[in-house]
C-alpha cells in the first residue's frame, strides 16, 4: 500500500484503509487527523501499517520493571496533555471507552517547566481518581505562559461498567520527559503501580 496514494488532501480527519493487517477481514480503518496524516506522508511504505496504528492511538504503554510507562505523541503540548489523560484512564480502568463525559470539572496548574507541568497534570488526574473516584473521558486543555487550564469531562467511577485495572500510586520523576521535535511533542512518564 502506498500511503501517498491514500492521503490526498488534509481535511480535519482522514480515514485510511489498510489491507493485510491480519485481523481476519483484511481491512482496518484508521482515522487520522491532519497532523497525524502529515506524519504518515513522510513515512516509508514498509512501516505504514505500524505507524498508522500508533497514530490512531496517540498514547502507548511501555515496559518498566515493576511499573508502567506512558508515552504520548501529539502535535502540541495541549494535545499531549489531553491524550495523556486518555492514556492514564486506560491504565486506571479496564474499559476506558465506556467512560462517559457526564460531568465537567475545571482544573488549573502552573509550572514553567513543560516536563514538570506534564507530571503534575497526570498526578492531578490520578489524584482525582484515587481520592474522589472521578474518571476522565476527555478534556480540553489550554496552556499559556506555564499555566494550564483544563476542562475535564468524565464521570464517577462505576466498577461494573468501567472495571478496575491498576492502582497508580504516583506519577514519578523517573525518566520523566517532554520534548518537542520536528514531528511534534513527545511526553513520557513512569507510573508507580
Amino acid at each position: 500500500m502506498a500511503i501517498e496514494d491514500t492521503l490526498g488532501s488534509l481535511p480535519e480527519f482522514v480515514d485510511v484503509v489498510v489491507d493485510g493487517d491480519g485481523d481476519g477481514d483484511g481491512r482496518t480503518l484508521y482515522r487520522l487527523d491532519a497532523w497525524a496524516a502529515r506524519r504518515a506522508r513522510r513515512t516509508p511504505t514498509g512501516a505504514a501499517r505500524l505507524l498508522l496504528r500508533s497514530l490512531a492511538m496517540p498514547y502507548e504503554l511501555f515496559e518498566h520493571t515493576a511499573d508502567l510507562g506512558l508515552r504520548v505523541r501529539a502535535p502540541s503540548l495541549e494535545r499531549l496533555c489531553a491524550e495523556g489523560a486518555r492514556g492514564l484512564t486506560s491504565v486506571l480502568v479496564v474499559a476506558p471507552e465506556a467512560v462517559l463525559g457526564r460531568e465537567t470539572r475545571c482544573l488549573a496548574l502552573a509550572n514553567d517547566d513543560a516536563a514538570e507541568l506534564w507530571r503534575e497534570w497526570l498526578a492531578e488526574l490520578a489524584f482525582l481518581f484515587a481520592a474522589r473516584g472521578f474518571v476522565v473521558a476527555s478534556c480540553s486543555v489550554a496552556i499559556r505562559a506555564g499555566r494550564l487550564d483544563a476542562e475535564v469531562c468524565g464521570e464517577s467511577f462505576d466498577e461494573r461498567r468501567h472495571g478496575r485495572a491498576h492502582e497508580v500510586k504516583a506519577v514519578t520523576y523517573h525518566a520523566l520527559r517532554v520534548v518537542e521535535d520536528a514531528e511534534g511533542w513527545l511526553g513520557e512518564a513512569i507510573l508507580d503501580i
Partner: protein, 488 residues
C-alpha cells in the same frame, strides 16, 4: 537513561556473595557500593541501571560505610529497590524520600494458628471466598473502618496503640509489631490535605499491585528451635499480609519529592540524579519530611493491624471458633520501606544513623534491645514474601546483619518480568485455574492483576534467601507454601 540500558561499570567480586562498585567509579562517591548477590543473580544486576543507582546513592552527604543493595535488587526511583543507606546526621547526613519509596512502611505481617492443613483444607474455598468478599482489596476501595478527621490525626500520631484503645488490637499485637506499631515524632500537621483525603476510608484495605493476603502452610522447617520460638510447626496454617500506607503514604512521598526539589541546591548538595531529592536530616525541610513519613508509617501499621483484625474475624466465623481459640496470634510485623534513626557501630563508635531501607527488611539479631522479650534469645523474625505459586520465607536476623548491613536483609523475590510482559505471557491462559491446579485458591478483583503477579513474573525467592543466609545477614527458619490468596 532507559530501561534497556545495562550497567557497564565495574563490579568487583569481594567474596562469594558480595560485589563492589569501587568509590573511584564515579566522581562524588563518598563510599563504595556493595551488592549482595551470587553468580546467577549478579548477571541479572547488569541488565538494568540498578547498580548505577547504588553508585549514585554513594554520593549522598553523610553516607556511612557503603551504599548497599540486597540480592532482590532492581531498578527503582532514585534509589534501587533492595537499597540500604545509612547517613550520619552529625556529618550533614541527609534524609531522602526516594530512599523510602512511595509506599511508606510497606511491610509484611504473619499470623500463626493452631490449625493444621488437614483441618483447614475442607474449609479453604469458602474461607478464601469470604476473605475476598469481606476484606476490601483493589484500586481505591474503602474499608469498613471509618475515622473522622480528628480520629485519623490521632491514629497518625499514636499508631497501633490508638487502635488498642478502641478494642482493635491486643497488647500482644503491639508487642510483636516493629516499634510497637508507633514511631514517636509523627506529626499529622505535616501532612497535606490531599494526603489526609487519600487516607480517609483506606485504613484496613489491602490495595492493589503486589499486595496480598495469603493463607499459607508451613512447608518445611529449617531451624527447629527458632520455628518453635515463633510458634511455627510443619503443616501449621498461617496468614501473611503484605500492604502499606495506601494513598496517604503515596501522597506524602509525592508531596515531599516536590517540596524538596530546590533543597539540595540550597544546601549545596550536588546530586548525580535529581530523583535523589533529599535534605539534611537536621534541617527544617528534613524534619518536616521525617514527621510526615513517621505519621504515614503509623498509618501503615494500623492498616495491617486492621487487615489482620478482619482476617481473624472471618476465619473465626468460617471455622466456627473464636480467633483466640484458634490461637491466631501475630508472629511479627516488619516494615521494608522506611527510614529510622537507629544506633549502629561504625569504626568502633556507636552513633545514631538514619537507616533508609527501600525494599529491604530490618533483621536484628538475638539480644537487640528493640526486640520483644519472646525473641530476645532468638532474633527478630524476618518475613520474606515470594510469589503466589511457590513460596515465602520466615528468616531470623543474624549478628552479621549488624556488622555488614546496618541490621538489614532482603525483602522479597524481585520481578523478572515487566507487567506488560507478564500480561503477554498470560495470554490465552487462566492464571487462577493454573494456581488452583497447583493447590492454590486465588481470588483477585482483576484478571489482569493476577496475570501481572503470576509466579513466572518473579525470581525464585529460594535463590534470594540462599544468598542472604550465606552472607550471614539472616538465616532460614521456615518455608511457607501458599494455599489461598486474595489480591487487589
Amino acid at each position: 537513561m532507559t530501561a534497556s540500558a545495562g550497567f557497564a561499570g565495574p563490579l568487583e567480586r569481594v567474596d562469594e556473595t558480595l560485589w563492589r562498585i569501587p568509590r573511584r567509579y564515579k566522581a562524588g562517591m563518598h563510599v563504595d557500593g556493595l551488592i549482595y548477590a551470587d553468580d546467577a543473580l549478579i548477571a541479572g544486576v547488569r541488565d538494568d541501571q540498578a547498580a548505577e543507582q547504588v553508585a549514585n546513592v554513594a554520593c549522598l552527604p553523610g553516607i556511612q560505610v557503603a551504599s548497599l543493595a540486597m540480592p532482590d535488587i532492581h531498578w527503582g526511583y532514585g534509589f534501587c529497590i533492595g537499597g540500604v543507606c545509612a547517613t550520619d546526621p552529625a556529618q550533614g547526613g541527609v534524609i531522602s524520600p526516594g530512599g523510602v519509596g512511595y509506599d511508606i512502611n510497606c511491610g509484611v505481617r504473619l499470623l500463626r494458628s493452631n490449625l493444621s492443613w488437614d483441618e483447614l483444607r475442607p474449609h479453604l474455598p469458602r474461607l478464601v471466598d469470604t476473605l475476598f468478599a469481606r476484606i476490601p482489596a483493589g484500586v481505591g476501595r474503602s474499608g469498613p473502618f471509618q475515622f473522622s478527621g480528628q480520629e485519623l490525626r490521632r491514629l497518625l500520631a499514636e499508631g497501633v496503640p490508638f487502635l488498642q484503645r478502641r478494642g482493635l488490637a491486643t497488647a500482644a499485637d503491639l508487642e510483636h509489631t516493629e516499634a510497637g506499631g508507633c514511631l514517636a515524632g509523627a506529626d499529622p500537621a505535616a501532612l497535606s490535605a490531599r494526603a489526609l483525603e487519600r487516607g480517609v476510608g483506606q485504613c484496613g484495605t489491602l490495595g492493589a499491585g503486589n499486595h496480598f493476603l495469603e493463607l499459607q502452610v508451613v512447608d518445611r522447617v529449617v531451624d527447629a528451635a527458632a520455628a518453635r520460638t515463633f510458634g511455627l510447626r510443619e503443616g501449621g496454617v498461617c496468614v501473611m499480609i503484605h500492604s502499606g500506607s495506601r494513598g496517604l503514604g503515596y501522597q506524602v512521598c509525592d508531596d515531599a519529592l516536590k517540596a524538596l526539589q530546590g533543597v539540595p541546591a540550597k544546601y549545596r548538595i550536588d546530586l548525580p540524579d535529581r530523583q535523589l531529592a533529599c535534605a539534611p536530616a537536621e534541617s527544617s525541610e528534613g524534619a518536616h519530611y521525617i514527621a510526615a513519613m513517621r505519621a504515614a508509617a503509623n498509618f501503615a501499621w494500623c492498616n495491617r493491624q486492621l487487615l489482620m483484625w478482619q482476617a481473624r474475624e472471618v476465619i473465626a466465623e468460617v471455622l466456627g471458633r473464636p480467633w483466640e481459640t484458634l490461637q491466631l496470634e501475630l508472629v511479627y510485623d516488619v516494615a521494608h520501606n522506611i527510614a529510622k534513626l537507629e544506633q549502629h557501630l561504625v569504626e568502633g563508635q556507636r552513633k545514631p544513623l538514619w537507616v533508609h531501607r527501600k525494599g529491604a527488611t530490618r533483621a536484628f539479631p538475638a539480644g537487640h534491645p528493640e526486640l520483644p522479650a519472646a525473641y530476645q534469645a532468638c532474633g527478630q523474625p524476618v518475613l520474606i514474601p515470594g510469589d503466589m505459586g511457590r513460596a515465602s520465607w520466615v528468616l531470623v536476623g543474624e549478628p552479621g546483619a549488624m556488622e555488614r548491613s546496618f541490621g538489614t536483609t532482603c525483602h522479597g523475590a524481585g520481578r523478572t518480568m515487566s507487567r506488560t510482559a507478564a500480561v503477554k505471557h498470560a495470554r490465552g491462559r487462566r492464571i487462577d485455574c493454573e494456581l488452583e491446579q497447583a493447590g492454590v485458591v486465588a481470588r483477585s478483583t482483576s484478571a489482569r492483576g493476577l496475570a501481572e503477579e503470576q509466579p513466572d513474573a518473579y525470581k525464585d525467592v529460594d535463590l534470594v534467601v540462599d544468598v542472604v543466609e550465606r552472607a550471614g545477614l539472616s538465616r532460614r527458619v521456615a518455608r511457607m507454601r501458599p494455599v489461598g490468596v486474595i489480591k487487589g
